[in-house]
């Protein structure tokens, strides 16, 4: 019999990454013991609370091509294999026992591909985020003509690690239906669609809005519009946010804009701006009408983000089609009205005029009109914000989602023993 509670081994290149929050919940709420193998650890303020109290973090090194800061796109799988091998070396050295389930994240540098060498017969769950379609979604949506031919060769080769994992006896999990449907039809039925959730305890509406925040005055009539991204980029539509901000600042005096996130663009998807400061670029291209009403907060701690979202009146989410950012769901949880650009992934979270607002197409006039209608209608803001918070609690919070995750782990662990 599998032990109760379970002992899990998590593998992700970065901690806490995506799995950290899941691991934390399973430790806190289900008493699991979790060994989290990662290559790099984020700043301690990003760590979940159960680290050292049931959640152990163990680092592994990587060798070969993985040591190089960047490699030619054709060596992407080789790099991923080096990460998988680095993780295996530490599994093999530590030989932690017992392990009931291995939990990993596929794609890029993440994979549990070699975990079965050290843990044969132990079920593996992998979360699959994104299967690249050569000419669909993300930055190809409206920039295809600007991208060099070689970029599309890379996209056609970038799914190799996902395919290997899918063929190597993992139980695949996709966070959303849209993400699952990106995968080849031959695999889709294998997937369990299971969103990992957001921490709804931390993202709640402030009972009262502060009159001042981080040294900035917040008069009662001022509406706060927010944009959050770890590194604001083209994929998340930061230039759309700037354009909307300028339109609204020109039109009215009762709006301020808060930007969280900064630093160079880290996603490889946007080869034009990778490694560059996209915020700076956009603000040079489209100078702010009134810089005093644009709070460029840069990278912030989770606490600052949750504070900001707790009184955000309108959270702008102008992303291109891509897995929905956690921050957008956190904004909903905090009762902010999310103004999202229409896409298939967004529609799984936001219902227009019920739990948020959806901008049709890439229509900036429509976005402005929707934003103005919300700014001017406190009742609608409250109604939609409450509905958004409720839907997150019911469907997209850790407490709503992760019991299903625990059930999956329990079921697999039990079946592997029988």
């Amino acid at each position: 019999m599998a032990q109760d509670p379970l002992s899990l081994l998590c593998v992700e290149p970065f901690f806490p990454g995506k799995l950290g929050a899941i691991a934390d919940w399973l430790v806190r709420r289900r008493g699991y013991r979790i060994h989290f193998f990662c290559h790099q650890v984020d700043a301690q303020e990003m760590w979940p609370e159960s680290v050292g109290r049931g959640l152990d973090v163990i680092t592994y090194n990587v060798g070969g091509v993985a040591k190089e800061p960047s490699v030619h796109w054709s060596r992407g799988l080789e790099r991923g294999l080096c990460y998988a091998y680095g993780a295996w070396e530490v599994f093999d050295h530590r030989r932690l026992r017992p392990i009931d389930v291995v939990l990993g994240r596929s794609g890029g540098l993440g994979s549990t591909l070699f975990a079965s060498v050290s843990y044969p017969g132990i079920p593996r769950i992998n979360i699959f985020d994104y299967y690249y379609r050569p000419h669909l979604y993300d930055v190809t949506e409206d920039r295809a003509g600007d991208l060099p031919p070689e970029y599309f060769l890379w996209r056609r080769s970038a799914n190799a690690m996902d395919l290997l994992d899918l063929e190597n006896e993992v139980t695949p999990v996709a966070p959303t239906l849209w993400q699952r449907n990106l995968y080849p039809p031959e695999y889709q039925d294998d997937f369990t669609v299971l969103y990992e959730g957001v921490d709804a305890r931390k993202f709640v509406r402030a009972s009262e809005r502060p009159r001042e925040w981080m040294g900035r005055a917040l008069p009662p009539e001022t509406k706060v519009l927010t944009f959050v991204a770890s590194s604001p980029d083209y994929l998340r539509g930061f230039e759309r946010f700037v354009e909307l901000a300028n339109r609204l600042m020109r039109a009215r005096r009762d709006v301020v804009f808060a930007l969280v996130g900064g630093g160079p663009v880290s996603r490889m998807l946007d080869i034009h701006f990778h490694g560059q400061d996209y915020v700076k670029h956009c603000l040079e291209q489209n100078p702010l009408h009134d810089p005093s009403r644009f709070w460029n907060l840069g990278a912030c701690s989770p606490k600052v983000v949750s504070d900001l979202l707790s009184f955000s009146d309108l959270h702008v989410y102008p992303s291109r089609p891509y897995p929905v950012a956690k921050s957008a769901v956190e904004a909903m949880s905090a009762g902010s009205v999310v103004l999202a650009w229409d896409s298939e992934p967004v529609r799984e979270f936001v219902e227009h005029e019920k739990t948020g607002l959806i901008v049709p197409g890439n229509d900036m006039d429509a976005a402005e009109a929707l934003a103005v209608s919300m700014i001017d209608d406190a009742g609608a803001r409250r109604r939609i914000g409450l509905a958004a918070a409720a839907v997150v609690r019911e469907r997209f919070s850790h407490d709503a989602c992760l019991p299903k995750f625990a059930m999956l782990c329990d079921r697999l662990a039990a079946s592997s023993k029988t």
Partner: protein, 417 residues
């Protein structure tokens, strides 16, 4: 109809097929290739009638040196990119159909960027995670540093090929069934076809091999493989040969194949020796009773097989060798390892004989029975020849492949781009 064939070598699998399609049906058949093959070499007629275009392969992507396993995928992408560039630089190459050989993945994976026509992937083989192909030889454990990892990632190019093809075909049912079940409905089983006029039983052939006359009454036991290596059971053949030679002094063992190892980890066992040298060193043998021909051309191979009193085919479960089909077409009595791909063409006691691969004693006993009483076993060779004519000849296979190509071309693009 214009078909673009893509294969590392020419003529290999597609040359003869294309020649038939061009000659008999008037199709335009173009090829993108790395090199002309030496096994077999192209005929002048092929060179005259078919359009050959050479790929420009960067040195680092050539297949001349062993590639560490984590780098195999990158090398494959280098080749696929060379194919992409080969098509990009030739605006006249705009075929109705592309047929790519997927032995090392599919070279067509990038072509949807340039071509809108359907793409066929020749689905040669999907490596097993255990107990087949390169991991079947439990008596020769693969080197510990690669064995647990290599089978988990070797199929990356193949999987990409499966995802990007409109349709695929495998030469045998066994090969098709190595692919994940989820893809099998997209893969048809269509054998390439062999030249049954070249490979045919011949009476009164002068008993001569490699320029040497063979003494009347000498029994010839043949073994043919592209490379003399463990996956094709060369070492087991040597053990069987030893037992046969102890029982019968009149047997000459004739072996065709190079000393190169194409699959698996033989070199890790043999050190500086080739696998052939390693296997031969491990038994006492009379060198005069082993005739190694090295690589030989089809015409010479046909002459060898026609003189065979017994043909041994001792493969692990893996891609079925054309040499087995050639031997059967020549009417040889074949004794083969009892593995799934062999069972697809040999019905024991009807079209040949099978014994367990690892049972050298049983293989030798059966071989001796054949050599002692050829007349009793001759009907097996005759039945084998009939089977090959009926199901594996160019006359049977080319029309089926033509029909398949036409079906796929007319269905248009079905892949998800």
């Amino acid at each position: 109809m214009h078909v673009l064939f893509i294969h590392q070598a020419f003529p290999a699998q597609f040359g003869r097929l294309a020649l038939e399609l061009a000659k008999v049906h008037g199709w335009r058949c173009s090829f993108l290739i790395e090199d002309l093959s030496t096994c077999p070499t192209p005929s002048q007629e092929m060179l005259d009638r078919l359009e050959l275009h050479r790929l420009i392969i960067p040195d680092e992507d050539r297949d001349s040196t062993p590639t560490p396993w984590p780098q195999i995928f990158g090398k494959f992408l280098g080749l696929a990119r060379a194919v992409y560039e080969g098509v990009a630089m030739r605006p006249d190459l705009r075929p109705d159909l592309v047929v790519g050989h997927g032995g090392r993945g599919s070279p067509t994976v990038f072509l949807p960027e340039l071509l809108d026509c359907p793409m066929i992937n020749y689905c040669e083989y999907h490596f097993a995670k255990r107990r087949s192909d390169i991991s079947y030889r439990l008596d020769m454990p693969p080197a510990t540093e690669v064995a647990p990892f290599f089978p988990k990632c070797i199929n990356a190019p193949v999987l990409l090929g499966l995802d990007s093809m409109d349709s695929g075909y495998s030469a045998t049912r066994f090969q098709r069934d190595t692919f994940p079940e989820r893809y099998r409905s997209k893969i048809e089983v269509l054998f390439d076809g062999i030249d049954t006029h070249l490979y045919r039983p011949r009476k009164d052939v002068p008993r001569q091999l490699a320029g040497k006359s063979i003494l009347r009454g000498t029994k010839i036991v043949t073994f043919v493989a592209r490379g003399l290596e463990s996956v094709r059971g060369f070492d087991i053949f040597v053990k069987v040969a030893r037992r046969i030679s102890r029982a019968r002094p009149d047997v000459l063992f004739v072996i065709a194949g190079t000393e190169q190892v194409y699959y698996g980890w033989d070199a890790l066992h043999t050190g500086k020796l080739t696998f052939k040298q390693w296997a031969m060193e491990r038994i006492e043998h009379d060198p005069d009773r082993f005739l190694f021909l090295g690589h030989i051309e089809p015409e010479q191979l046909a002459e060898v097989l026609c003189q065979s009193d017994l043909h041994l085919y001792l493969t692990v479960p893996f891609v079925l060798s054309w040499s087995l089909i050639n031997a059967m077409a020549c009417g040889c009595t074949v004794l083969a390892s009892d593995v799934a791909p062999v069972r697809e063409v040999i019905e024991p006691g009807v079209t040949g004989l099978v014994e367990p691969l690892f049972d050298a004693d049983q293989l030798a006993d059966t071989a001796l029975k054949v050599l002692d009483d050829p007349a009793t076993y001759a009907p097996l060779g005759q039945a084998a020849r009939a089977l090959i004519e009926e199901k594996f000849s160019l006359e049977t296979c080319v029309p089926a492949l033509k029909n398949y190509f036409e079906r796929v071309a007319s269905a248009g693009k079905t892949r998800r781009d």
